[in-house]
């Protein structure tokens, strides 16, 4: 019975949506995305397949496609701010990050971590496992557990495809508008068109709920990795003490909920669930000290 209703609904959607698409465009974003996601990608996919077999699958990108997108974004970000020239630092951050990422559902990704030459306080994640933190944020950290926590938050964004979802939305929107209905040359060009100008995507805000989710997962991944669980709250405490008017936190505060709100949400989610975790490590001694 239910199945018949579903079938009927889907049939109705299939009939109604293609016409609705054009009208909807000026209206709510979400509706368009939803309808294109359920319908027109399939038709356009098959259409594209007949033309060229290497169509970029935005609806359900493969692992390789996801990495390709992330690499493009990471490359742009590194174009804005290069890596800190300190091999030992970069290796250390990769060791910590990889160990934490191992505790996630995406241990299969070839995770890459980097510290960039920016005194801003911020960190970024791109699809496929590219994670970057600024020297300014690294400077604020006191031990390895806190570093693990910051990286965990970013890893969570990758695991839950938070940025990928934003890109998919804009891509599908373009397709709905008929702008990108056809294949546009090489995959890289298609990716570039969707990720926009430079590393613009890194300056975009995610849903608040995505940030809170990344905080919750960050605490859990840090805990799973054997660290003391309170690294993330501690870092949020520190960042919360930075004046709102300081330019170093301008972008971070613009794109994230205020640290105080994040702390309150974490508190609500954690409750007494961490009471039994007792021998988490902080590893203050092993924490790599910046050379300057």
């Amino acid at each position: 019975m239910m199945r018949a209703i579903y079938f009927f609904l889907i049939l109705m959607l299939a009939i109604v949506v293609p016409q609705a698409q054009a009208i909807n465009l000026g209206e709510t974003l979400k509706d368009v995305v939803k309808s294109t996601a359920t319908n027109s990608t399939e038709t356009s996919n098959t259409a594209v397949k007949s033309e060229s077999k290497k169509a970029f699958n935005w609806k359900n990108p493969s692992r390789e496609e996801e990495i390709q997108i992330g690499r493009e974004i990471a490359g742009n970000l590194l174009g804005a701010s290069a890596l800190v020239k300190d091999d030992a630092l970069q290796k250390y951050v990769n060791q910590v990050g990889r160990w934490v990422a191992n505790q996630s559902e995406r241990a299969d990704l070839p995770w890459h971590f980097g510290v960039i030459e920016s005194e801003d306080i911020n960190a970024f994640a791109a699809p496929g496992g590219y994670v970057v933190i600024t020297k300014g944020l690294y400077r604020k950290l006191e031990n390895e557990a806190q570093l693990a926590a910051v990286l965990s938050h970013e890893i969570a964004h990758v695991v839950r495809s938070h940025h990928l979802k934003i890109l998919q939305k804009s891509q599908l929107l373009d397709m709905g508008a008929g702008l990108l209905g056809k294949q546009v040359g090489k995959d890289n060009q298609v990716i570039r068109k969707v990720i926009g100008s430079g590393a613009e995507i890194c300056a975009r805000s995610l849903d608040k709920s995505a940030e809170f989710e990344a905080d919750r997962m960050g605490v859990v991944l840090t805990t799973r990795a054997g660290y003391e669980p309170y690294g993330l709250p501690e870092v949020l405490q520190t960042i919360g003490q930075t004046g709102k008017d300081e330019s170093s936190v301008a972008l971070l505060f613009k794109t994230h909920p205020h640290p105080d709100d994040r702390l309150v949400k974490l508190d609500e989610a954690i409750g007494n669930r961490l009471d039994k975790i007792k021998d988490g490590k902080i590893l203050g001694n092993r924490f790599y000290k910046l050379k300057n």
Partner: protein, 170 residues
């Protein structure tokens, strides 16, 4: 001469912990119970109101040892915001200067050099050499396991936390 040195070291050793103890102040992010011990079922000794100032004396697992105007005891770490309510932690600032930790960071931040503004991000150009470099530091899962082992880190089973449920009890 030697005696003098030892005395100096001794007084430094005595003085330093005092400084760090006195340094931490905070305020309650929400109303919560203060307990005699760092356990959920320990005896209640008092309470803090939201926004109430307190001193942070110590920390144990999920708990902070605090002192308010009225009582001292243990309160949940996540109920407390460290630092004074309005802006920076002055004592920490002084310590940072003394230890040379301030300097570079602060100067750069105020002059805005090497920042990463929205504009910078938008205008960024793809840098193949830097991505390659970033990828060159990549660690394998096995290497990371060894690294964890060296630090005495052991993987723990722990479920993801559910999103907070609006409207209280589930």
């Amino acid at each position: 001469m030697k005696k003098y040195k030892i005395l100096l070291l001794l007084s430094a050793a005595l003085f330093l912990p005092l400084v760090s103890l006195a340094a931490e102040t905070g305020s309650a992010l929400k109303a919560d119970v203060i307990r005699a011990e760092p356990y959920a079922d320990a005896k209640k000794t008092g309470a803090v109101a939201r926004g109430e100032k307190l001193q942070i004396i110590g920390k144990k697992n999920a708990w902070l040892n605090v002192k308010t105007a009225k009582v001292s005891g243990w309160v949940r770490l996540l109920s407390v915001k460290r630092g004074t309510a309005g802006g920076g932690n002055q004592v920490k600032g002084v310590l940072d200067v003394a230890s040379g930790r301030a300097g570079t960071g602060k100067v750069v931040a105020t002059t805005g050099v090497r920042g990463l503004s929205e504009e910078d991000l938008k205008n960024a150009k793809f840098n193949e050499a830097e991505v390659k470099k970033m990828e060159s530091y990549t660690q394998t899962s096995k290497q990371a396991q060894q690294f964890a082992k060296n630090g005495g880190l052991k993987a723990v089973k722990f479920d993801y936390l559910p999103a907070e449920q609006k409207g209280g009890e589930k």
